[in-house]
């Protein structure tokens, strides 16, 4: 009944291909982490660094999902199930960041500062 029974032979070569994909991705991820570490110390424009860091993390995030977690090889319904949660979470985070503003804070009431 499970996926593997009917495709046991084809799977071995499929697994081989996946194995190579995994190794490559692992190396890429390690490299990216190194780049991020170096990037923050470089004397370049802050906004550029921020944008690059966010892009690199997003790449790491989605590539682990696509390859290590197999979503690329699996049925669409799983991408939809996860993607809906991800979209709602992202939308909420973005909305909250826009709504919460320093202008509304009553700094008089905060004894900690």
């Amino acid at each position: 009944m499970s996926d593997t029974l009917s495709t046991s032979h084809a799977d071995h070569s499929g697994e081989e291909q996946k194995y190579h994909a995994f190794i490559n991705l692992a190396l890429v991820l390690a490299a990216i982490t190194g780049i991020e570490l170096v990037l923050v110390y470089l004397p370049i424009n802050g906004t550029f660094i921020f944008a690059t860091l966010v892009s690199l993390s997003l790449f790491k995030f989605f590539s682990v999902i696509a390859w290590f977690m197999h979503l690329l090889y699996d049925k669409l319904i799983l991408t939809l199930a996860f993607g809906t949660g991800l979209s709602i979470a992202s939308g909420t985070v973005v909305a909250l960041m826009f709504i919460m503003d320093r202008g509304f804070v009553d700094f008089e009431a905060i004894s900690a500062f």
Partner: protein
């Protein structure tokens, strides 16, 4: 069509395994869970950027190292799942042990880091930064610990002889999904809590 509708290995209309669908739904829910905590942290950093400067406390080298460790553990986990699909229990055991080992190293780094911070004066009670930092990284650490526990149980279970590769491949895959998710949440946390504080 077979009627073993209660056999959790079954999958029917959309040909997606029940357990796998369940885990992806859980992970979608967990996105919202971590998303809420991350947005709390970001909101308070937006409101009070001058209240605390973590760059003197954070050791980017240590945190990059633990990030690297977790990424590599994810790689080993993918290999473990692959091994189980091929029916190679010995390879599965080796890789799973690797994941457990790396996971423990990650946890050790976290514990070391937290202890350092507490000594330096950053605790749960240190204003909004302390609250959000420790709750977020602490919850993530608990997720890692649960994953380590799960994989350890699986590792020992593989020695009982009750683990048939074809039946259990899905269970290993589901554990793998959880572990990878814990890794990708850390990728976000690393960027959003640590790295961006260092941008001038």
């Amino acid at each position: 069509m077979s009627d073993d509708a209660h056999n959790n290995d079954s999958h029917h209309n959309l040909m997606v395994n029940n357990k796998k669908l369940l885990m992806w739904l859980f992970l979608g829910s967990d996105c919202m869970f971590f998303g809420t905590m991350i947005s709390t942290h970001l909101i308070y950093r937006k409101l009070y950027p001058e209240s605390f400067d973590p760059t003197s406390l954070f050791s980017l080298e240590l945190t990059s190292f633990s990030t690297f460790i977790l990424l590599m553990s994810s790689f080993l986990m993918a290999l473990a799942v692959s091994a189980m699909h091929k029916g190679d229990i010995k390879s599965f055991r080796r890789n799973t042990l690797g994941v457990i080992f790396f996971g423990l190293i990650f946890l050790a780094c976290q514990v070391f880091e937290f202890t350092e911070f507490v000594h330096e004066g950053l605790t749960l009670n240190s204003g909004t930064f302390g609250s959000t930092f420790f709750m977020l990284t602490g919850t993530h650490g608990v997720h890692v610990a649960i994953g380590v526990f799960w994989l350890t149980c699986m590792y020992f279970y593989s020695y009982t002889g009750k683990m048939d590769p074809h039946e259990s491949a899905i269970d290993v895959e589901v554990a793998g999904l959880y572990w990878h998710f814990v890794d990708i949440v850390w990728i976000i946390i690393f960027t959003v809590i640590y790295l961006i504080e260092f941008i001038k």
